[in-house]
Amino acid sequence: MSAAETSAAETAVVETEGLRREFTVGRRRARRRVVAVSDVDLRITPGEAVGFLGPNGAGKSTTIKMLTGILVPSAGRLRVCDLDPTRQRRELARRLGVVFGQRSQLWWDLPLRDSFGLLGAIHRVPEPEHRARLERCVDVLELGPFLDVPVRQLSLGQRMRGELTAALLHGPRLLVLDEPTVGLDLVSKERLRAFLQEVNVVDGMTILLTTHDLPDVERLCRRVVVIDQGRVVADDAIDALHARSGGAREVVVELTQPAAPLHDLPGVRDVRVEADGLRQRLAFAPADTTAAALIAAVAARVELRDVTVVEPSIEDLVRTLYARG
């Protein structure tokens, strides 16, 4: 039932072919060309929510900036919302909502309300639509208490909620988010994720998201594109990626007494012993066993003090995929 299955013939929101971008770095004699993005083929259909993952410097932001018309590609074909981002940047900007976690699109010295007013004018949003969209964001993101506070006095969490509102006021077809949750506390992150999920599922808005935060992706995206050293190393449903990345999940058991390494448990692929046997890390694949079954098996052998289940980080996931790819 995913959007990808039902809309194979539908026009893509994003379509790239052989996308490439090089940079000149260094000065004078040390000058050299660096390939930031290379041969990226990407197709995103309406209503999809795609997570764009990769380590620092992998080329995520560069790709996003080419998609939004900020950077001009060195080579390759590129279409976003039926437009050429390089030649039709301004027209494209009306169809895109963009949130950069690292920089603000709001006016530092203006209250949020005035910033929204200016953005409404910039995008030429008719007044009733503007009011309706703003009301909804104020409602769901709880902007009310700080709508009249200058942006520079807002907390990071408050500002990010403002940024997201700013990106949605003109009713974009594609919402592009570059690390939207960076630096946020858990409550703010969760609030942002819930709203993004609503925008995607209820309104059917297409979302492309880069992040370092695996829970962001697991909450929002059914599809994940992994990029490393400028190349796409995986493009798949998120469950398939978890399965492919294999023994990345871990049960960490704390014991009341030191014990010998817990080998020969069903489904365990690797055992690492810490604190002289008081703590043991058992790596397993979800395909082989469940965390519950594994914990029960351990409890049958030794006395447990505490148990935690560790999810793989994005870095781990990428490393596993890349080593196999």
Binding site: L71, R89, A93, L118
Partner: protein
């Protein structure tokens, strides 16, 4: 036209902020005016010692100085924000402007409006009034048109030169010094008769960086006097055409420069 209204609205939000601190605004304006008056003092001191400079009498030099000063103040008001371009590029803030459905240059121009820069124009206007009162310019309709049009045309030429030189920042982040040589250097090269400069600088100002069209040539027309260098008569009315050409070149260079934007790496 719609874009203009949007820019006016952005600008309005900037101006309100400045007028909220009237004392600071007044002091800033005074500072700018003093900077301009400084150059006036230099001219007056020089003419206390000599009767002519490059073949021009004191009032004639003051006319050039006044026209150039008003032009410079207006240009500074309009595109002076480009001084901040290296910061926009280095921090990657330019990304935000590129993600909006507006031109980047107009957005930079309206990112701030430093009304205090009119302090320079004010001093120029006072000197211009004094020269006119002294009766050095015939009160004809053509001269009236020249006096009103020259500062606007001159500001356009200076503005175009600045846009071209600031575009360098897209290739060389530390290009500010080079750009400033042209921007603030132009206060010197436009405010004096070009006959006082050496032949190479003169040619540069006539044909490459058209500073001579800001005030020198229009002043020749206003004073109705022959060019001491014997340059073609028609040049003194050519400033509007030069301005159009300068704007076209600036637009082309700017467009190329923005396409060369490399971002800030995050």
């Amino acid at each position: 036209m719609d874009d203009l209204r949007v820019h006016a609205r952005i600008l309005g939000s900037r101006v309100r902020g400045q007028l909220a601190y009237p004392v600071s605004f007044a002091l800033d304006s005074l500072g700018q005016a003093l900077g301009q008056a400084n150059e006036l003092a230099v001219i007056l001191v020089v003419f206390a010692q000599v009767d002519s400079l490059g073949g021009f009498a004191r009032d004639e030099v003051l006319l050039i100085y006044a026209l150039a000063g008003i032009s410079f103040g207006l240009a500074d008001l309009a595109v002076g924000q480009l001084d901040e371009l290296p910061r926009w590029i280095r921090t990657g803030e330019l990304d935000v402007l590129l993600a909006r459905p507006l031109g980047v240059l107009p957005q930079l121009v309206t990112s701030d409006l430093q009304l205090r820069r009119l302090g320079r124009s004010a001093v120029g206007a006072v000197v211009l009034a004094a020269v006119l009162a002294a009766g050095r310019v015939e009160p004809t309709p053509l001269n009236a048109l020249l006096i009103i049009g020259t500062p606007l045309v001159g500001a356009t030429i200076i503005g175009a030169i600045w846009v071209v030189t600031c575009s360098v920042s897209f290739w060389v982040i530390e290009g500010r010094e080079l750009a400033n040589a042209f921007t603030y250097g132009s206060t010197l090269t436009t405010a004096y008769p070009i006959s006082i400069f050496g032949p190479w600088l003169r040619r540069l100002l006539c044909y490459a960086v058209p500073g001579a069209f800001v005030a020198y040539f229009p002043a020749l027309a206003l004073l109705d006097r022959p060019d001491p260098l014997g340059l073609p008569h028609v040049l003194r009315y050519a400033a509007p055409l030069v301005a159009v050409a300068a704007v076209l070149v600036a637009a082309l260079v700017w467009h190329t420069a923005v396409r060369h934007y490399q971002g800030a790496g995050s």
